[in-house]
C-alpha cells in the first residue's frame, strides 16, 4: 500500500463525462439547446451517477461502517480511482485509518484494487502503482440483501440462505471460514460434507462466485489508443476502470467451478481427467502418485483456506430483473404471458454475461410452461401467440428454431410506466397525456401538433409544457423560421436518456429522505417512554422500510436493469 505518485495523465477519471448534447435538426436556427437546471453529475465506475445517488451511497456506508469508511468511500466515488496516498491527502485522514477503511471496503466488495505501471519523472524508471476504485453498484446492493436472501431461500431452501447470509454479512470468505461460521451457528452440529454440498449448490446456481483478483493493467500509449480507435470506430473505448473490472474477473470456468471433491475424506474423484490420472497411478508410477497426492493436499489447502468467495450480485440482479419483466408481462398481457415469459427466461442457457437477450427452443419453453401452475391449460397455439405478442423473434440455428426476446425492451416499457405515473401524480392527467405523446413520438414536435393530438386549449397546453420543461422532464428548442424575423416556434421532445437520469436522481433523493426518516424514527423509539409509543414508532419504521424496498425496485429499474 506504500505507493506514491500522482494521478495517471489522461485517465478518464480526470475528465468527468459530459451529458450528451442532442442533435440539431437540419432546418432553421436553434437558439436554445437545454434543460433549465442541469445538476452536477459525478462519474462513478461504469455509469453516470447524480449527486443524490452519491449522497445515498455515502449514507448507506455511514450506516453500515461508520463515518471514516464512508469518508474514504465518498472520496473514491467522487474523484474516481486514486492511489493510497491520494486518498489520505484528499480525506485528510491518518494512513492507518485509510488503510483500515480500504480493507473494510475491499472485504465487502465495495472497492476494487488494480495496478498500473507508473513512470517516475521524464524517462525515469517504471514502478507499479496500485489504484483503488469504488464500485457504486455494489455499495447500493447493500440495501438489497434482504431481497437476495429471499431469492436463495425460495430457490434453494433455508440452509443455503443461511450460508449466503455469511457472505452478505462478511463480504468475502474462504470455505473454511464459511464452514466455521455454519458450525458455530449450529452449535458444532453442521457436518463439513453437508456445508460443502450446500456451498456447491450456491456456486453452481451462480449465487456465489470466486472473488476477482488484483489485475495489472498495461497502459496503452497515445499512438496505440488512436490506432485502436481508427480500427474499430463502432467499438466504444473502455475506461481504465472498466478494463480493470474485466481483467480482475476470473474466467467463467473458475468463477463457478465450486469445490468438487477435494474436501471429502475418500477423495473420490468425479472429474474424467482426474480419473484418468488415478488409473495412470495405479499402473505403477509410484513417484508420480506421491507428487499427485502432494498436489491434491496443496490444492485442498488452497481451496479451503486461500480461495475467497463472495455473493454474485449479477445473478441476483438478473433474478430481480426476471421478476420485474414477468410482472410487466402480467400487467400488459395477462397471466398466460407471465407464465410463458418466465418459462422462456428460465429455460434459456443461464449466461449472465448477456443479461439483455434470452433465447430458447419451443420444446424447452413448453416444458417450463407445463411445470408452472396454470401453465397446463396453455396449448402450443396459445404459447406461440403469446410469444408473438411479447415481441419474440424467431431465429433458426443448427439445433432448430429458437425464440428470443430482448429484455431491454420490456425494461424500457417498465421505465416508461414509472415515469408516466410520476408525471400523472405530480402534474395531472393533461401533462400525462402530453408526456406520453412525446414519449411515443420520440422526436421534436411543434406545440400546435401537441395541442391537436391531446385535445387541449392552447394556453393550458403551453402552461403544462413550460412547467414540464422547467422541471427537466422535457427538452425544448426554439426555432426561428425566418432569420431576423419575429416568427418563432417551439419544438418539444422527451429526451429519454436525460429524463431517465433525472428520474433516477429524483428516486435517490426520495430514498435518501426515507432513510433519514427511518433513522430518526429509530432514534425516537430508543428514547420513547411506554410500550404503546414504541410500538407505534416500530410500525411507522416498518412501513418506511417497506417503502424504501419498494423505492429500490424503481431504482433498480432505472439503474441496474438497463445494463
Amino acid at each position: 500500500m506504500e505507493i506514491t505518485g500522482s494521478r495517471i495523465p489522461g485517465s478518464p477519471t480526470e475528465r468527468p463525462k459530459r451529458r450528451p448534447r442532442p442533435k440539431k435538426p437540419r432546418d432553421g436556427v436553434f437558439k436554445q439547446v437545454r434543460f433549465p437546471h442541469s445538476g452536477v453529475f459525478a462519474f462513478s465506475c461504469f455509469s453516470m451517477v447524480g449527486q443524490e445517488g452519491i449522497s445515498f451511497a455515502v449514507l448507506l456506508m455511514t450506516a453500515h461502517f461508520g463515518d471514516i469508511v464512508a469518508k474514504v468511500c465518498e472520496c473514491l466515488i467522487c474523484r474516481g480511482s486514486l492511489t493510497f496516498h491520494e486518498i489520505a491527502r484528499f480525506t485528510e485522514l491518518p494512513h492507518g485509518q485509510v488503510k483500515n477503511s480500504l480493507l473494510v471496503l475491499i472485504q465487502h466488495n465495495c472497492v476494487q484494487a488494480f495496478s498500473v505501471p507508473k513512470t517516475v519523472g521524464i524517462g525515469g524508471p517504471s514502478r507499479v502503482s496500485t489504484l483503488y476504485m469504488a464500485i457504486f453498484d455494489n455499495i447500493i446492493h447493500r440495501m438489497r440483501f434482504s431481497k437476495f436472501h429471499h431469492i436463495v431461500k425460495k430457490d434453494l431452501g433455508d440452509q443455503c440462505a443461511q450460508l449466503l447470509e455469511g457472505f452478505l454479512q462478511h463480504g468475502r470468505l474462504t470455505f473454511q471460514l464459511l464452514y466455521g461460521r455454519a458450525s458455530e451457528l449450529s452449535g458444532g452440529k453442521a457436518k463439513q460434507v453437508d456445508v460443502l454440498s450446500m456451498f456447491n449448490k450456491l456456486v453452481h446456481a451462480q449465487y456465489v462466485e470466486r472473488c476477482p483478483g488484483v489485475p495489472f493493467l498495461e497502459l496503452k500509449s497515445d499512438d496505440e489508443v488512436s490506432s485502436a480507435r481508427k480500427r474499430s470506430k463502432s467499438e466504444e473505448t473502455k475506461t481504465i476502470e472498466e478494463e480493470a473490472m474485466i481483467a480482475a474477473a476470473p474466467s467463467d470456468a473458475d468463477r463457478f467451478s465450486g469445490i468438487i471433491d477435494l474436501m471429502t475424506d475418500s477423495g473420490a474423484v468425479t472429474n474424467d481427467k482426474e480419473e484418468e490420472s488415478i488409473l495412470e497411478v495405479a499402473a505403477g508410477n509410484k513417484r508420480k502418485h506421491e507428487v499427485l497426492e502432494m498436489d491434491e493436499e496443496i490444492q485442498k489447502t488452497i481451496n479451503t483456506n486461500e480461495i475467497l468467495w463472495r455473493a454474485n450480485y449479477e445473478k441476483f440482479v438478473y433474478c430481480l430483473k426476471k421478476k420485474a419483466c414477468v410482472a410487466n408481462a402480467r400487467s400488459r398481457f395477462g397471466d398466460g404471458a407471465a407464465i410463458v415469459l418466465e418459462a422462456l427466461m428460465e429455460s434459456c442457457d443461464p449466461n449472465i454475461k448477456n443479461l439483455n437477450f434470452v433465447t430458447s427452443s419451443m420444446n424447452s419453453i413448453l416444458e417450463g410452461v407445463r411445470g408452472k401452475p396454470g401453465g397446463v391449460s396453455l396449448t402450443l397455439e396459445h404459447v406461440r401467440a403469446i410469444l408473438e405478442q411479447l415481441g419474440c423473434q424467431l431465429c433458426t440455428e443448427e439445433t432448430g428454431v429458437l425464440y428470443s426476446i430482448v429484455l431491454k425492451d420490456i425494461i424500457e416499457s417498465c421505465k416508461n410506466d414509472e415515469a408516466e405515473s410520476l408525471i400523472l401524480k405530480k402534474y395531472g392527467k393533461e401533462a400525462y397525456r402530453i408526456f406520453r405523446f412525446l414519449t411515443k413520438t420520440g422526436r421534436f414536435v411543434h406545440t400546435d401538433q401537441i395541442i391537436e393530438t391531446t385535445f387541449l386549449e392552447k394556453k393550458e397546453a403551453q402552461k403544462i409544457l413550460w412547467k414540464l420543461w422547467m422541471d427537466n422532464y422535457l427538452h425544448m428548442e426554439k426555432l426561428n423560421l425566418h432569420t431576423g424575423g419575429r416568427s418563432e416556434v417551439f419544438l418539444w421532445k422527451v429526451h429519454k436518456e436525460l429524463v431517465w437520469q433525472h428520474v433516477l436522481d429524483y428516486m435517490f433523493h426520495a430514498a435518501l429522505n426515507i432513510s433519514q426518516k427511518i433513522s430518526e424514527k429509530e432514534e425516537a423509539r430508543q428514547v420513547s417512554v411506554g410500550n404503546a409509543e414504541a410500538e407505534k414508532l416500530r410500525k411507522v419504521r416498518y412501513i418506511l422500510e417497506a417503502s424504501l424496498l419498494r423505492m429500490d425496485d424503481a431504482i433498480m429499474l432505472f439503474h441496474d436493469f438497463s445494463t
Binding site: E418, S421, L422, K425, Y432, T453, E520, K539, I543
Partner: protein, 234 residues
Amino acid sequence: MSSNGKLPQKRKLPQLPENEQKLYNLILSKESMGIWTADMKKETGLPNNTVTKALKSLQAKNLIKDVVNIHNKAKKFYMAVEFEPAKEISGGTWYSDGNLDVEFINILRDQCRMYVERFKVATIENVWQSIRDSGVFNTECSMQQIKEIMGSLVLDKELEELNSTGIGDFSRIQPGKKCYKRYKDGGNPKEQGILSSIPCGVCPRLTDCTPDGIISPKLVFISINGWTSRCQVS
C-alpha cells in the same frame, strides 16, 4: 362545401365604392384563410378609419364576416361569407366559435370507450360504424375524427392499441390488423407507479427537502395510514 372551403351558393354583387371594392377583393382573394385587419391596412395602404368604415359597411351588406383565430383570439380576422374558415384558423372540427368543443369531445370519447368495451376488441372501422348506426350525434363523425379520439384514449391509457393475433378475443379480427382493447387494469395508471405509492414518492416539496435544505426530512411529520402518507413541516 368545396375542398377549398367555399360554399356552393353564388350571388350577384352590388355596386361598391372604390375603397370597399378594394378591400372586398383582397378579403375574397384570401379565401378560407381570411385576413387580419393590420395586414389589410398594410396591403391596401388605406388609412385606419377608412378600413374600419369599409369593413363595417361590407359586413352590413353581408359580404364579409369576422372569424375567430384560435391561435390569437385578440386578432380580428375577416373572410368572405362564401367561405368557411380553414382548419388553421378555426382549429378544425374540434372547435366551435373559436373554443375547443369539450362537451362534444367528451361525449365522443365516452361513446368510443363504450363500444370498445362492448366488443372487447374493436377496430376503428367497428367503432365508427357503431357510432354512425347509433344516431347519437346529429352530424356525422368522420373516420379521421374517430381515429383522433381513439388516439387520445390510447394516450390516456384507457385503451390499448394492439395487433390482432387472430385467436381468443381477437378471433373476429384478421390477424395482424390494428385494433383496440381496454387496458387490463381499467385504465388506472395511478396504481401502476411505485413512486406514487410510497411516502416522499411524489412529494411536491421533495426538491426543498434535504438534510441542509429549507425543509429537513428529519423534521417533517409523516402520518401513515396503510400505504398512504401525509407529510408536513412540523
